[in-house]
Subunit: 385 residues, 2 copies
């Protein structure tokens, strides 16, 4: 810069012009975003980002993929699992870089801001709203409730809520809001040792809510806050998180676009490639008053209005089992869609052991009459073995 003094006016003008050009090029390459696409088509050209998705219609998998544009999805927690109405109050740290989602230059940005930026580069057709606050404080909870209530594309409630948070309080906040607003939501989580996780669909009044029966993984975990305080961080594996995020979004797509079967609870035990599933019936004496209200509404609905898939969720009740958890092998469960039973009823679907899993393990998981505590214990053992 020191030799600028010696330049002629013409040279300086040429220099300004060339710098302006470079800057424009730099900025355009950086902010290169494809234009929005008004109508989704299945046209097979390299420039169509929707051709692979619209092909699902031709293949008979999804009847109406375009319907995806009519949904509003709220995502609470922007970490390894979820990522559009985004809620998070955390900042991006280098310690979050063990994932594909955030990049080092985003360190210090709020997570919702960083995620929103990355997502809009990938797909500018999605409207993304950022909410950079903690939903568990009293004042913020009302804001959260209001956003869920009016966040739909037509001003009504959002279509679904995806919970991707890492603590109990935030899960209870999502649960309370969704019970009150009667919104279906998916809970998701990865264990602290990073080698197991789960997703769970919660339909107010129809399935157990989070307070009726906290997911086994969460219930068996150590309190995360106490761990963080000691300066010891939980482990995380981008692989486990990516798989759980995949299950979460895949089942969300199946739910919203109505194809395939949505799994009510899907677990993932990474060390064994073992995938436990189960269904959990609501607890009629649940502590959440809105949960009890939704249960009454669900039970008083005329039978033909009860959704088809609920009929397939059979309930097997064992009177000598407080938690009503039963294990299902190949036997078809009995039809019982009325949901009138006074017990928390659930099913634990047991898959056959993997190649290298000793059969004794599978046997002990299958043994009938297990309660939640012993199932939790078994899961812990599976994780640790």
């Amino acid at each position: 810069m020191s030799n600028l003094e010696g330049k002629s006016t013409q040279e300086l003008i040429a220099l300004v012009q060339s710098l302006e050009k470079e800057l424009a090029a730099e900025r355009s390459s950086k902010n290169h975003v494809r234009p929005k696409i008004a109508v989704m088509t299945s046209e097979v050209v390299d420039s169509n980002p929707y051709s692979r998705l619209m092909a699902l219609k031709r293949m008979g998998i999804v009847e109406n993929y375009e319907k995806i544009r009519t949904f509003s999805v709220a995502v609470v927690g922007v970490g390894g699992v979820g990522s559009l109405i985004l809620f998070d109050y955390d900042k991006v740290e280098l310690a979050n870089m063990n994932r594909l989602f955030f990049q080092p230059h985003q360190a210090g940005l709020s997570k919702v801001e960083a995620a929103s930026h990355t997502l809009s580069l990938i797909n500018p057709d999605v409207d993304i709203e950022c909410n950079n606050y903690d939903i568990t404080t009293v004042a913020n909870f009302d804001k959260f409730l209001d956003t869920l209530k009016t966040g739909g594309l037509q001003g009504g409630p959002v279509d679904i809520v995806l919970s991707c948070v890492d603590n109990y309080e935030a899960r209870v906040a999502v649960n309370t809001a969704c019970n009150e607003l009667n919104i279906e939501w998916f809970e998701s989580g990865v264990a602290e040792n990073a080698v197991s996780g789960h997703i769970q669909l919660l339909i107010p009044g129809e399935t157990a809510c989070f307070v009726c029966a906290p997911p086994l993984m969460v219930a068996s975990g150590v309190d995360e806050k106490s761990i963080k305080k000691e300066g010891v961080c939980a482990a995380s594996l981008p692989t486990t998180m990516g798989i759980i995020a995949g299950f979460l979004v895949q089942n969300t797509l199946k739910k919203l676009l109505e194809f395939g079967d949505v799994t009510p609870y899907l677990g993932y035990i990474a060390l064994k490639d073992f995938f436990p599933t189960m269904t959990l019936k609501p607890n009629p004496t649940c502590d959440d008053p809105y949960c009890r209200k939704r249960q009454q509404e669900f039970q008083s609905r005329p039978k033909k209005q009860v959704r088809e898939d609920a009929k397939e969720e059979a309930a097997v009740v064992h009177d000598d089992n407080d938690w009503g958890i039963t294990l299902v092998d190949e036997t078809p469960a009995e039809d019982s869609s009325e949901g009138k039973d006074a017990l928390l009823r659930s099913q634990w679907h047991q898959e056959a052991p993997q190649a290298s899993a000793p059969p004794v393990e599978a046997e002990s998981v299958v043994s009938g009459g297990d309660d939640v505590k012993s199932l939790m214990k078994r899961l812990k053992e599976l994780n640790q073995s």
Copy 2:
């Protein structure tokens, strides 16, 4: 730019200086990459990108996570599944934007170049090598073979090959190379309708090679080239691809870092959240001469050298079953690690049906004596239902 003529020399100099500053800022924000980290530590500070991974040691999951730095992994095919010795000859198109990995401004770049750029931004500690050519041509195959043979960190062979390709020819090329070089590899794939996929571990001489028994999904697929020619593209779902990629990398980590159990074959049927597993024994009359050579070497190895987990892979032989495929329920299979049998032997591990899967379906999959064709048929039906 037209009003530059009227500016004084001092004004022009100030303008040049301010433009240079803006350009520098623009460039530094764009190329912000974290410095390399010489030693991985488990220190819990926000700026340590390895703290979450090193925590796996403290939790007793992985004995020596740092060992990850000693491995060389070859990835063939850079698409939705895999992504560091990268092999691919394709260019990034907007049609690839249904994934998180590529961004619109990368359209037109080679896939290896785009992937390498994104990966090095995320983790500059990984050495990434790009090979932008088709491995299936005669001339390129030798280059490919040589790269695998010398691509290890000490100049020896790479530690593992991950195949993430979308066609039969490329899979056979990887298979041929790995049999000749005696390198273990993972095959992966997603079906054309995007709602099922699999990963498979291939250990030359010990498991079936790709020519011994092509994976069911691949074998049941329509020829992709003919589809592409007609201007009709295969469907793809980033969810399915993300899950398969997750399974692939998770099992690669388990294999390289020696934790948990590596699953020999893991399938994923998205519509049912059904996860078939099986093991496939090599075919003593395989068309690939190097496969037969590796089988002889494996069989003549002293028993104590035979890896522990091979002992658990029991072989159940049915003489009236050409393909030797048998279905395993809870019954522990017999120990038979010698691998002396003249038949292609395998196991089909059947998981219990999911909540909403009608039991009749599971039954028909379980029925004994199925050959590969009828299994393929069943898988197709599962995909389509």
